[in-house]
Symmetry: C2
Subunit: 378 residues, 2 copies
């Protein structure tokens, strides 16, 4: 018997209510029955996005929604700025380059956030920059960027701020309107507790102006077409009906818990996880700006990081993520995002202790659990 | 109590085995567990596509896979030809135009197929045409195009044949390799008996050469990137994991029934449906090339077509489709595609009889059912 536990930063575990919603008979999308669902989803998405703008639902991975942001705002030859502190920051750069937009790339060291002052200086030096691309939580490093400050900096210029909040939205706070985020992108498989397959995107009036001049060719991800359909409570093409119906249930669960409570829960789980890692004398990869959605820790000297993750998963059923890109084999990434309780964290740490001990890492059994329990008891 | 029955040409009803698969706990996509599923899906997709080429899985609607075909084969200014006989033929034209490709549009009258000779003449007149876009089953009219003949015609030229088989694949026969189809596009929510959210696309070696010269900008739908990932049994971005797992189950069900048996079942259901309509003295919209996936019939004089469809759905739970585009309000479209048995057809006709009678159409109760039963008993 092997019981499985998922502690990865996307996909995240599905609540039983979502499994049930996914298993329902399908309904047709151009019916009053589905329109009623779309309407409710639309209203509740605005609450979770903390915005008065519409949130469009795309049938795609989060990357599809990122592409929608790039190709609806910009044109070949335009200037943009990308804040790049990991694999998903790099994706903005790749997307810009694919469409002939040469971005000014502002690198944050992997595992570190970016000082908003640095961003301000770049924007002063390059007043032609139309769009600033950032990431809320860089999944590959476990860093949360200071979007509120970025919003202040970018808000004082003519540029618009686009944030990839695929990891993080619905887990950590991001106030789209209040913080001056112009385009907010997310996906279904993280804070929303759903399977992957939906990309979500909202556009402020300031950013919408750019869609009027954008010359990037587009069809499937054309947000003007999405907006026109949305005004009729419709989608341009057959949507991922089952996922939208499950999204409706997820949003109701999230709003019943309350956004503030969700953020507090994630913060507490993150604090417990960070404490546990310190208790085990493991080094956090991101010391000062660790994300409340996912914690990245360095694999200790002499331990094979890939084997560690593989053993936890294949022998004991506990799936965490390893490092990506330049950090492959060097990190363990434990997610505490979405449908995760304190005891999921406890069991994850217990499994980590079990396998670390077996691989020869020296520590006292229970040292991680003890530290976590102390935080969780507060 | 109102029990619901879905007889629409996408989405089509979900078998209980698929509902169960969709309700399973989610697993991570970069694991040997998911890779084993991807591998099996890949092998079985080739059998259903009747091809030795890889079939790539995109997380998108079918339209996303259509866009992938356009932007991976062509460049701005290229010449293409679109066979347009309904709303989904028009989509190829719109896609081409969005990317600066001015298509030669060959119109087939709505409800009629296109004589392959006409296609041959166009290709002779315009030897610069690189790609011919067609539709297997035009969902908006219930017409099946003669893809086998189109394959012969296009195969004799330098052009490649791209077929939108979103409606139809897995319901009616299309032999990709044998018939010379170069790019075959489909979606999850029709013959595959799944919810919408997956686009599928396969590319022949002849068509793959065009991807080497294509200059359309692309990222999310870049098939070269998809191919590279696929060679590692992977996808470039987080796939719609739950739908892929359900696709694995659907493919096993389809291959257990056998493609030939599936096609025979669909043909028999279509014949029964067509006979029923004649029994009710309703006129088939497509007389000579009616599709085995969906039957379109004209709403009789004096009957409000939209009200007819609405009453069947909202009062009796039987959902059929009405007309689209220029045929809005003028057609009833009954699908017999995917997880549909003969008794689903019987109940659909019974509901149609009930509501037609109530709306004042003159016929004898049971006339449609009788004709259908006679065909089904053969």
């Amino acid at each position: 018997m092997k019981k499985n536990y998922l502690l990865t930063p996307g996909p995240t575990p599905l609540p039983p209510e979502i499994c049930e919603a996914l298993s329902r008979p399908i309904i047709h999308h151009r019916t009053p029955q589905f329109q009623a669902i779309l309407k409710e989803v639309g209203e509740n998405l605005k609450k979770v996005y903390q915005t008065s703008n519409d949130v469009f639902i795309l049938s795609s991975s989060g990357t599809g929604a990122m592409e929608a942001a790039v190709i609806n705002l910009l044109s070949w030859g335009d200037q943009a700025l990308v804040i790049e502190g990991g694999k998903f920051g790099e994706r903005w750069t790749e997307l810009c380059e694919a469409y002939g937009i040469k971005p000014v790339v502002v690198k944050a060291e992997w595992g570190k956030a970016l000082d908003p002052e640095v961003l301000a200086e770049y924007l002063k030096k390059e007043p032609g920059i139309k769009v600033v691309f950032s990431t809320l939580c860089e999944t590959s490093t476990g860093v949360t960027f200071d979007i509120k400050k970025f919003g202040e900096v970018v808000g004082a210029t003519n540029a618009v701020l686009v944030v990839d909040a695929i990891s993080g939205l619905g887990a950590i706070d991001i106030k789209m309107d209040e913080w001056g985020v112009d385009v907010l992108v997310s996906g279904s498989q993280k804070g929303f507790m759903l399977p992957p397959g939906l990309g979500l995107i909202s556009v402020s009036p300031k950013a919408w102006k750019l869609t009027e001049t954008s010359k990037c060719p587009k069809y499937y991800f054309d947000l003007k077409v999405a907006k026109k359909a949305w005004e009729q409570t419709d989608t341009p093409y057959t949507p991922a009906i089952g996922l939208v119906i499950a999204l409706n249930e997820a949003l109701k669960m999230m709003l019943a818990e309350g956004l503030e409570n969700i953020f507090k829960r994630h913060h507490k789980l993150a604090e417990a996880t960070r404490a546990a890692m310190k208790g085990l004398k493991l080094e956090l990869f991101s010391s000062s700006s660790g994300s409340d959605a996912v914690t990245a820790v360095k694999v200790p000297q002499g331990i094979d990081g890939e084997k560690l993750v593989k053993t936890m998963r294949d022998e004991f059923g506990v799936t965490m993520a390893g490092g990506q890109g330049e950090m492959k084999g060097k990190l363990i990434r434990v997610a505490h995002m979405g449908y995760i309780s304190e005891f999921d964290i406890i069991l994850g740490i217990s499994c980590l202790e079990k396998v670390l001990k077996r691989m020869g890492y020296v520590f006292e059994f229970g040292a991680g659990i003890k530290a976590a329990e102390e935080v969780l008891a507060k």
